[in-house]
Subunit: 341 residues, 2 copies
């Protein structure tokens, strides 16, 4: 059997280009004991992947040149040599940008399609949802009546942050690009206010949206949006830092005045907590509670989610480019193969 | 009775100049019930005072033009109309840059000269010592075997940070300017290593001094020293931010590349905690324990301290300028009046 794969062949400079990747096929290896043969149904596209394309030092190793791009997938088990998984099972795996793969059964998590649509394991019930849950509750610690601000609020992390903040009794202010996303935030997702960062009046709008200042800023974009929110932070404010999408394609340091001294001054004079995190950190302590609580919230409709499904592995690179510039609304997923057997 | 006072008459631009202040006299008001008449023996000079001279927004209001400069003092009670204090008592007060003042007895703390020299209430047993204690133990949380780095390490906060870190089983690395201060750190104060930030090989020396990276960086200087330490931080490192002396006299934003994105990237990829604080925050929960523990450490010699005493209120402005450029060694104190009656 053959797998069709998207491989990284050069390290992107700035925005990833088509010719930074190649599409090819490779033989799928024979199954060994304990392994499963998987057919990819859904591939998750996430901002962290930009970091893996680069060889700058980070918290995880880069993808090697010539290697298949990494990524979380929802797969169907075609064949099993493990007691843990049976043919026909739906599983969450980490098999990357390809149509078929062999994996250790222990490295997959079985999904129950009766409980929630399997694709949610890549979004609201997966890594993005858990990033929101762990970072907001453990670092942000929103209290009843406090104001929580999140940017990229129409994305899978941001929309979960806002909705969990509401469930904890806080006021949720979402920042997004464009009127359509802003409407989604207030009309569908229950945010108290939405602010359009593309508007000329963004800073004034943000000020009006946060009359009592900001207690928690869930940082996933940085850049000028992050700077604007920083000015609104209250004393003892908390800033979980989970991503810096605005800078991911940056090819050079921003010129002009150095804003780091102003940032440090703000941290000092407002007694702010700025805390970077990768969701892995919270897995041992919080993942079980997350799955139980979030599955219940999704089931009873108190947490809603949006998916943006792109068809075909051959469209993954272009879809990924759109992810970094805010083209999609909701969790971006590539449908790699038919989602019914 | 008259008090000689140093008053702020214009807001310094950059380094405070002599003519930003005037020395004059004023009548000391009559004592009301509950008040004490105080004679200043020692005046504390501390970096935070630079912030009070400026009208930029901060955690405390600026000193008004024409007003006496604020500051902590150790005083002798000349006259009392309160049951709480008696004539001849030594007290810690906050009467500022002047020779005499009237204060509410409740706003003074009685000092026991038998237990420790009264001047220590301005340094190792006062606000600087408590800043070190609260920030290091509550935010830095050094563990046995970890590496703690502090800059301005020969100053009253830094020297306490290093010595408390050692008492908690951590490795203490001090950064200071010049060979004399560096010798003081290792030979008198028990730091494991001292690094001279004025040396051309500072970055290499810092690297050699922290072979296992840095777990806690107690930030009280910022600038290029802070940036160099940031590069050495380990995953889950903690950075209590208590001061930014390198920037206090800055009159314009530093030009060149913006270093804020690199700072945020480091926070994210290393899961760092950066937390600003003002020592007041820890008073309700930690001040009693601090006084007990630190007084015992000073008494048994496990925490040592240095004082740099300048004679005469008329020399306070010049001494303060030296404080911001690292001229003094140890806690800077002005002897305003004779320290024996």
């Amino acid at each position: 059997m053959q797998s069709t794969q998207v491989r990284l062949v050069s390290r992107p400079v700035g925005e990833p280009a088509d010719d930074d990747f190649e599409i090819g096929t490779a033989d799928v290896p024979e199954l060994a004991d304990g392994q499963v043969l998987l057919r990819t149904v859904f591939l998750s596209l996430d901002p962290y992947m930009r970091g893996r394309m680069s060889d700058a030092k980070s918290y995880a190793d880069p993808v090697g040149l010539g290697d298949v791009m990494v990524g979380a997938t929802v797969c169907e088990v075609l064949e099993s040599r493990s007691d843990r998984r049976a043919q026909g099972d739906w599983v969450l795996a980490y098999t990357g940008w390809q149509t078929h793969a062999v994996a250790d059964a222990r490295h997959t998590r079985k999904l129950d399609p009766e409980q929630a649509p399997p694709s949610t394991a890549l979004g609201v019930l997966g890594m993005p949802g858990f990033t929101a849950y762990g970072g907001l509750l453990e670092i942000g610690r929103p209290q009843v009546g406090e104001t929580v601000v999140v940017a990229a609020a129409a994305g899978p992390v941001g929309s979960a942050v806002g909705q969990i903040a509401k469930l904890k009794g806080a006021r949720a202010v979402g920042i997004a690009g464009g009127a359509e996303k802003c409407r989604l935030l207030t009309e569908e997702l229950g945010f108290d206010v939405a602010v359009d960062h593309r508007s000329d009046t963004f800073r004034d709008d943000l000020k009006a949206a946060t009359p009592d200042g900001v207690d928690v800023y869930f940082e996933n974009v940085a850049g000028t949006v992050g700077e604007a929110v920083l000015r609104r932070m209250n004393t003892y404010g908390r800033i979980p830092v989970c991503g810096l999408v605005a800078d991911y394609n940056a090819t050079e340091e921003r010129a002009g005045a150095d804003s780091a001294p102003a940032l440090m001054r703000r941290i000092l004079t407002k007694s702010l907590t700025v805390r970077g995190f990768i969701q892995d950190e919270f897995v041992p302590t919080h993942h079980k509670a997350f799955l139980e609580e979030m599955t219940a919230w999704v089931a009873d409709g108190s947490v809603k989610y949006r998916e943006d499904v792109v068809d075909g592995l051959e469209n993954a690179v272009d879809a990924f480019r759109g992810l970094l510039t805010g083209r999609n609304v909701g969790k971006l997923i590539v449908r790699v193969g038919p989602d019914a057997t």
